[in-house]
């Protein structure tokens, strides 16, 4: 299939870009039972944007010098200690000092200008008519009732699910940390936010039946050579990854390409929502532990505060 071939070639290119310099052959370590060893602590924090900006449509890869310059400018532009303009929502949204953030400081090893790899223009493909209808309905609901009740708020604010867990697993402004554990018949991924654990059975057992729907879907894994391939289905109908719906079928590929780099790539296959499948790669690099507990709901003063704030704002506008 064309999509799979393109994905495979991209993966090889990515792997080639990430391995150590010639003259130093690196052999992938194995677990005692002969599986590639992906274990340890990893982070996917990066400054590379998810989609390729329009200005860079013809520049899929940066040179080393351009990448260094970009990283420097990113750090300056995103420095939360730079006050944008006091008294604006933008300043409020920057929220707090730089020391609370940990966005990452580097572009991805391949220096591509987007995490989206396929389509080649580095942009998420268009939604189908059905997908657009769903997106419009979701946007309308947000405009209509931005804070009538907790269910109007994003999943992260409700402490239900964070983009770092997905799947697919995408970095955010901080705590982009993962710990991988392996046994002969399972791979487990501990995700710092929100203490989610993905336990992926290896082997031939089928996915859960369609009656089981989960926020993180239902995953099954297998080894293809040195690559762990994980397919995930059974998402809920509240799943929304850039416009996805409950029919999302996600394929993730994990390949360790050096001591410190784990190539992570995912393909979104969701024909009711997107006009074509698409693939992105978010490499993971070794990081130091430990992961810390991220108990979210237990400390979620923010939900109470923002609902109270919304009610207070309504009283003002209603002139009471």
């Amino acid at each position: 299939m064309k999509g799979t071939l393109a994905t495979g070639l991209l993966l090889i290119a990515l792997a080639a870009a990430a391995v150590p310099a010639a003259g130093q052959k690196w052999t992938a370590p194995q677990t005692p039972w002969g599986h590639p060893d992906l274990q340890g602590l990893w982070t996917n924090a990066t400054v590379t944007p998810f989609e390729r900006p329009a200005e860079l449509a013809d520049k899929p890869v940066l040179t080393e010098q351009e990448a260094a310059e970009f990283e420097k400018r990113f750090a300056q532009a995103r420095d939360a200690d730079r006050r944008v303009g006091a008294g604006t929502d933008a300043d409020v949204a920057l929220a707090y000092n730089q020391f609370w953030y940990d966005r990452g400081t580097k572009v991805v090893g391949s220096r591509r200008t987007s995490l989206v790899m396929d389509p080649p223009d580095g942009k998420v493909p268009a939604l189908t008519a059905e997908g657009q209808k769903l997106a419009d309905a979701r946007a309308a609901a947000r405009r209509q009732s931005p804070a009538d009740g907790p269910e109007d708020r994003p999943l992260a604010e409700r402490c239900i699910l964070w983009p770092t867990a997905g799947p697919p697993m995408i970095p955010v402004g901080y705590n982009n940390n993962y710990q991988i554990f392996q046994t002969p018949d399972h791979v487990a991924i501990l995700i710092e936010m929100i203490h989610d654990v993905r336990i992926i059975p290896l082997g031939a057992q089928p996915h859960a039946s369609p009656g089981i729907r989960q926020w993180l879907g239902d995953s099954r894994g297998r080894w293809e050579g040195n690559t762990l391939v994980v397919t995930t289905t059974n998402f809920t109908n509240k799943t929304n990854f850039r416009g996805s719906d409950a029919n999302l079928r996600l394929t993730e590929r994990f390949t360790r390409v050096s001591a410190d780099t784990l190539n992570y790539e995912f393909t979104v296959d969701n024909p009711t929502a997107f006009t074509r499948p698409w693939t992105a790669a978010v490499p993971m690099t070794r990081t130091e532990g430990p992961l810390f507990e991220y108990a979210c709901h237990e400390g979620n003063y923010g939900m109470t505060n923002l609902l109270k704030g919304a009610r207070a704002a309504e009283q003002v506008t209603e002139g009471r």
Binding site: P32, R158, F181, H186, H195, D196, I212, M303, T304
Partner: protein
């Protein structure tokens, strides 16, 4: 080793006996292939009506070894308690539940306690607080709000949990509230702050996984009966394979701010043996939002 052998089973039983003998003779020979786990000694197969008193000899069962070839027992799997400890750690009679509408579907069943010696040694002020907790259970029990259950309660919530074991760290994922904890093996690291699920450091004592848990906040309860602790809580857990499908679980609880001395609970944990057993999601935050935030909802005209 006493066990009944029928004609149909004799060949399999013979293989089991051979495997048992070879495992006993050479404990580091690597893991036994599936299906050749030695039969549990008869004494361990009879689950006692009361928890085993402290000091009783450990089971003679020897679990298969970890695939990491470190000589340690393999505790991987999905496990679940099957008792009423989450209702009440102590002996209790059946009684009316908190919501009339739920009738017999949610009243409180009778149960035998899991506390060794039966008594939870509260300091006088704490005994009064426990009574107050029990009287205001629905309002105060953190379980009702889908808060993470802490340790040891997570082990005996009526939901399964899964152990994923490696030599350097053991991950335990709990179905309730997607809670999880990592047991750092042979570690001296300390937690920077207080947590819901504690900070766990593990080591092996023969075939028993011993976990030292500290750095708790004071927010969790031990059960629905209002049994509680402070942020000085210190728990030492012991997980011992008792048979192929049973882990013997013990937890010693110490809290000098609340109790007059340490005390101990113990119970079996049972493997979920269904062929395709897996943890599912119980992300209960959704189910408590109306309870917790409904009073802040926009009033419809």
């Amino acid at each position: 080793m006493r066990h009944r052998i029928t004609g149909a089973m004799s060949a399999g039983a013979a293989a089991v006996v051979v495997a048992a003998i070879s495992l006993t003779a050479n404990p580091t020979a690597g893991q036994a292939p599936a299906g050749q786990t030695p039969a549990a000694p008869a004494a361990a197969r009879q689950a006692p009506a009361r928890p085993a008193p402290a000091g009783q000899a450990a089971t003679t069962y020897k679990a298969p070894r970890s695939a990491f070839k470190d000589g340690k027992p393999d505790l991987n799997g999905i496990w679940q308690a099957n008792n009423t400890a989450n209702w009440d750690l102590q002996d209790h009679a059946a009684r009316q539940g908190p919501l009339i509408e739920l009738g017999a579907a949610f009243s409180i069943p009778a149960g035998l306690g899991v506390v060794e010696g039966g008594e939870i040694p509260y300091q006088p002020w704490a005994a009064a607080k426990k009574k107050e907790n029990a009287a205001n259970w629905l309002k105060l029990d953190p379980e009702v709000k889908c808060y993470m259950p802490g340790v040891p309660r997570a082990a005996y919530m009526p939901y399964p949990f899964q152990i994923v074991q490696t030599p350097t760290a053991i991950l335990i994922a709990y179905e309730f509230a997607s809670a999880s904890r990592t047991i750092y093996m042979n570690s001296k690291d300390e937690s920077p702050a207080d947590t819901w699920m504690g900070w766990s450091r593990g080591r092996w004592d023969g075939d028993t996984l011993v976990v030292d848990v500290t750095s708790f906040n004071d927010q969790t309860w031990f059960d629905r009966a209002g049994n509680f602790h402070s942020d000085a809580l210190h728990v030492v857990e012991r997980y011992t394979p008792a048979s192929r499908d049973v882990l013997q679980y013990e937890a010693t609880i110490e809290d000098p701010k609340v109790f007059t001395r340490p005390w101990k609970i113990s119970m079996p944990l049972y493997r979920r043996v269904e062929k395709n057993a897996q943890l599912l999601e119980y992300k209960c935050v959704e189910f408590v939002e109306e309870l917790m935030y409904g009073h802040l909802r926009k009033k419809t005209k």
